[in-house]
């Protein structure tokens, strides 16, 4: 299996970038999901949505070229691409909740075989608030979780989440450094396995029951 931290991230975000289609409106969460933007395939034109109120989020500005009125949802200096549009928070979540957002990519503390997601608090330890995450997961047409398969040796893919949920039964796809899993009516289906990784390793690192696709492929990353 892949051990190098940077290579893990690269595998995850590259694979997710390949999932995006021309014309998609996409929201990338803070942290690793943001890196997906660096790997959008040639010829695929997407509009990035920023919860704080615009579509057409561009790359980070060069030092000295920051505009105090343009930041991303993590308050980092940002830019907009030609064709961008700014709006208020009501419109921002009209896009999210109203079925106008094709894909949301976000990290997770835990995700389970029913598509439940926990990523907004650890009781007694960390209570940052949900921000826009609950709306994003409920509203986006496709919810992709981008995360490492385990944390401190413990599986993050469970039979049932134990942390407070962000949303129930909304996750469609989980991409980790070990493979790609789809949430189906019958539970989790492993459809792709990462290079340098064995099936035994994936099963051992997954607490949830994992069905293996008859057409299991190697992740193209």
């Amino acid at each position: 299996m892949i051990q190098d931290k940077n290579r893990k991230r690269e595998v995850i975000v590259k694979r997710i970038a390949n999932e995006l289609k021309d014309g998609d409106v996409v929201n990338l969460g803070i942290g690793m999901p943001t890196l997906v933007a660096n790997y959008i395939p040639e010829g695929i034109d997407i509009m990035l949505h920023s919860e704080n109120g615009f579509i057409g989020l561009g790359p980070s500005p060069k030092p000295g070229e920051e505009d105090k009125d343009i930041v991303n949802a993590g308050a980092q200096p940002a830019t907009h691409i030609p064709g961008a549009a700014y709006f208020d928070s009501s419109m921002s979540f009209t896009i999210i909740r109203g079925g106008h957002l094709d894909v949301t990519v976000l990290g997770a503390l835990q995700v389970d075989q029913h598509g439940n997601l926990a990523n907004w608090m650890i009781p007694g330890k960390m209570v940052p608030g949900m921000g826009g995450a609950m709306d994003l997961v409920v509203g986006a047409k496709k919810v992709i979780v981008a995360m490492e398969h385990t944390a401190k040796g413990e599986s993050k893919i469970l039979e049932k989440c134990t942390l407070p949920l962000t949303a129930a039964r909304e996750v469609d796809m989980i991409v980790t450094e070990m493979g790609v899993m789809l949430v189906t009516q019958d539970g989790l289906l492993l459809t792709e396995i990462a290079p340098e990784t064995t099936l035994e390793e994936v099963i051992a690192a997954t607490e949830a029951e994992l069905k293996i696709s008859e057409d299991l492929k190697v992740m193209e990353v």
Binding site: G53, P128, G129
Partner: protein, 214 residues
């Protein structure tokens, strides 16, 4: 009708214990001069409605640090460690609201609606103690309006009648807060003559604004 006042004059309308809605997203689009004036005057026991508690040294985060607030109604506190600390020590009440729900609760108050129905929060702790309503086979939460005594806005360009233009990502909650308070005070980054903002570019119509400060 002259709406232009000094910050000191505007502050006379802000009292201890009021509910104050403040525009901005992590401090971007927040009226920093008004925020600072509230601290200077030592206003206490504010209930704050805002997207977040920003940073300890920026935006409404400074109110948390200076203990001007007794309760915050926000979607996110993670960028201001002081908020979490005061919450844990039971000095500060924190009501966390999903961001889209917060926007619509404010909008509902401003639009004269009795509440809104949202799927956000179903199956999570957010649904506790809330009425669930099924529409066409799908469950929604009834979320109630939230209204403020005072709204503090930041306008990038404001004309002397009170029409506001918000530049780029500073619009966020400002245009919503403008509709949902008894008294609306806007801090103008640039104050211009009436007519200098094209009516098509007005984002908050002047009728919502009571006081303009520079």
């Amino acid at each position: 009708m002259n709406k232009i006042k000094t910050i000191e004059e505007a502050l006379e309308y802000i009292k201890d214990g009021m509910t104050i809605a403040v525009g901005g997203f992590l401090g971007v689009g927040t009226p920093e001069k008004l925020v600072d004036a509230v601290i200077q005057k030592g206003i206490k026991d504010i209930t704050l409605i805002c997207n977040d508690t920003a940073f300890p040294d920026k935006g409404v985060g400074k109110w948390v640090v200076n203990k001007n607030v007794k309760k915050v109604i926000v979607s996110h506190i993670g960028t201001n460690p002081e908020t979490g600390q005061q919450m844990n020590e039971k000095e500060l009440e924190v009501e966390l609201v999903p961001q889209g729900t917060l926007a619509e609760r404010v909008r509902a108050a401003g639009a004269g609606l009795g509440g809104i129905l949202t799927p956000t929060g179903i199956g999570t702790v957010i649904e506790e103690k809330k009425q669930k309503i099924n529409v066409d086979g799908k469950d929604y939460l009834l979320e109630l309006p939230i209204k403020a005594d005072v709204a503090l806005l930041k306008g990038s360009i404001v004309d002397k009648k009170g029409n506001i233009y918000y530049n780029k990502a500073t619009k966020n909650f400002n245009s919503l807060m403008a509709t949902a308070a008894e008294l609306v005070i806007v801090e103008a980054e640039k104050l211009v003559e009436i007519g200098e903002i094209d009516p098509s570019d007005v984002m908050t119509p002047s009728i919502f604004v009571d006081i303009i400060v520079e």
